[in-house]
Amino acid sequence: MSLKKVKEAKSGGWFRPLDLIIYAAIAVVAAAIFCAFFFAGGGGGFDGVRVSVDGQTVYEYTFSAGGSNLSPQTVEEEESGALVLIKVQTPWGYNVVCVDREKRSVKITEADCKGGDCKLPEISGGGTVIYCSPHRLTVTPITSSASPEVPIG
């Protein structure tokens, strides 16, 4: 930078109108970035499901990273187009959990249980839990950040 330009800058002072606008814009951007990182929780962000049998997690699937088979002796995974079919063999029978990667939804499509106190809706957000009582199988949504939403009923 030339000496002439430095002298021009010093003579102009720190608070010319355009400078003030730039300082305000920097402050707003800085605050927005801070808030985005600090308050990142509570948004939910349905990202997949966790499958448990009798309280023990046997399989996890996230749309971002795919499937993680934690119990290969009892869980089989098969892909069919946009669908991921997860067959879970429990001590009391089997269930097939179907993940639709296009619709970002999950449901139980097959089971050999005789029926019982079950909750079998489709999961497409963070608020619903599926469970099959005779097989003690639970399908719980995974959210990308802590979600305050809790299902009842």
Partner: protein
């Protein structure tokens, strides 16, 4: 300059307390349960406290199931039910406490909650054997349900001291003397109870007490979407309770914002909880006065308060009342509650318009800003 600001801001955000969620899952009483705690788990003390809590909660839940679940062979409730009239058996503290809670709820609800509906629950095909009638002809007769109702009525006239007692640190339950015979039959039926309408709430209360003792204030315990004990959400905020639409379980009919309270629900829906003949729904919720499934039109009730056990029983009680009585009960008892009903007895379709010409109405004592209703659900007085 902007890049420097961004780096500075992100660094500042990273200096905030790193609260994360840890969960423990359990299975009991035919359903899942989940304990969630929000804390800074980079602090080893919090991790150790959580692991201890998980162990103790797990032990308590299993113990409660083995004590209270009427479908568990060898449970104290099963042993009580197997007694002849006038017989007595030793029970444990958990069972003693649960029976006391049941009597308290029965008194507060004027008998609309009554655990002495064991026979009716099974006669209509609910309970562990899960053998639903295949036709209307297989439904229990009025003679049978009148006999069951006589037993339930006798039980509701008793006090807790007539049935359970504590002596020298041990607990006992005594079967009431009332018996009935159905028609001209020889079999004499004595009173049998089923604590299914209060036991999940009772467990939630127990785990909630452990949470408070552990010092974790940002936490919740969720039991089979039926009874929940709430502390605060992460960061001290509120939870958002999504109330499942009783006629479309993939949707919600209301969202309630809350913290530091317990909630329980009862309803006439759910896989295995109802069947239909000739357009009439028969659900697992039994009106203790008739010992037949409820027909009030109330499809789902939610009660909030300090005790999940009491909420559990009172939500069942509300469903057993007619709509006007339920409204008056909530008002006179000062309950924080919500229930959804339809004018067609709850036999309508899945849409918010009630299917067969009825409409879905919601009565609530909750403050206006504490909840939101889904489209098609109308708040009424």
């Amino acid at each position: 300059m902007i890049v420097l600001s961004a780096i500075f801001s992100i660094t500042l955000a990273g200096c905030a307390p790193s609260e994360s969620a840890r969960k423990a899952t359990f299975w009991a009483m035919n359903g899942p349960a989940e304990l969630t705690v929000y804390a800074d788990f980079s602090d080893e003390r919090n991790s150790q406290t959580f692991e201890k809590l998980e162990r103790e909660a797990g032990e308590f839940i299993k113990k409660a199931e083995s004590s209270l679940d009427v479908n568990v062979e060898g449970s104290y409730i099963s042993a009580f039910n197997a007694l002849p009239a006038g017989g007595e058996t030793e029970i444990d503290q958990i069972t003693y406490g649960a029976v006391l809670a049941a009597f308290d709820a029965m008194e507060k609800s004027g008998g609309s909650y009554n655990p002495a509906v064991y026979y009716a629950v099974r006669a209509f095909g609910f309970g562990a054997q899960n053998q639903k009638p295949q036709s209307e002809d297989e439904l229990p007769s009025k003679q049978e349900t009148d006999a069951y109702a006589a037993l339930a009525s006798a039980f509701s006239s008793l006090s807790a001291a007539d049935v359970v007692r504590e002596e020298g640190g041990r607990y006992y339950a005594k079967k009431p003397l009332t018996t009935v015979k159905i028609g001209g039959g020889e079999e004499e039926l004595s009173i049998k109870i089923d604590l299914g309408g209060i036991s999940k709430g009772y467990v939630a209360d127990g785990v909630n007490a452990m949470l408070k003792a552990s010092g974790f204030t940002r936490a919740m315990f969720w039991f089979s979407s039926s009874s929940i004990a709430f502390g605060e959400f992460s960061g001290g905020g509120e939870f958002k309770l999504n109330c499942v639409n009783p006629r479309d379980e993939s949707a919600v009919y209301a969202q309630i914002r809350l913290k530091n309270t317990c909630v329980s629900t009862s309803g006439d829906y759910g896989e295995g909880n109802f069947y239909e003949f000739s357009g009439q729904r028969y659900c697992h919720l039994i009106d203790p006065r008739t010992c037949r499934p409820i027909t009030s039109g109330i499809m789902s009730a939610i009660v909030l308060g300090d005790s999940a056990a009491l909420n559990d029983a009172l939500s069942t009680a509300v469903c057993a009342m007619d709509v006007q009585s339920a409204k008056e009960f909530i008002k006179t008892q000062g309950l924080a509650a919500m229930f959804v009903y339809s004018d067609d007895g709850g036999n309508g379709g899945a849409d918010g318009n009630g299917g067969n010409g009825g409409s879905y109405k919601v009565f609530t004592s909750l403050a206006e800003g504490a909840f939101t209703l889904a489209g098609g659900f109308i708040r009424v007085d």
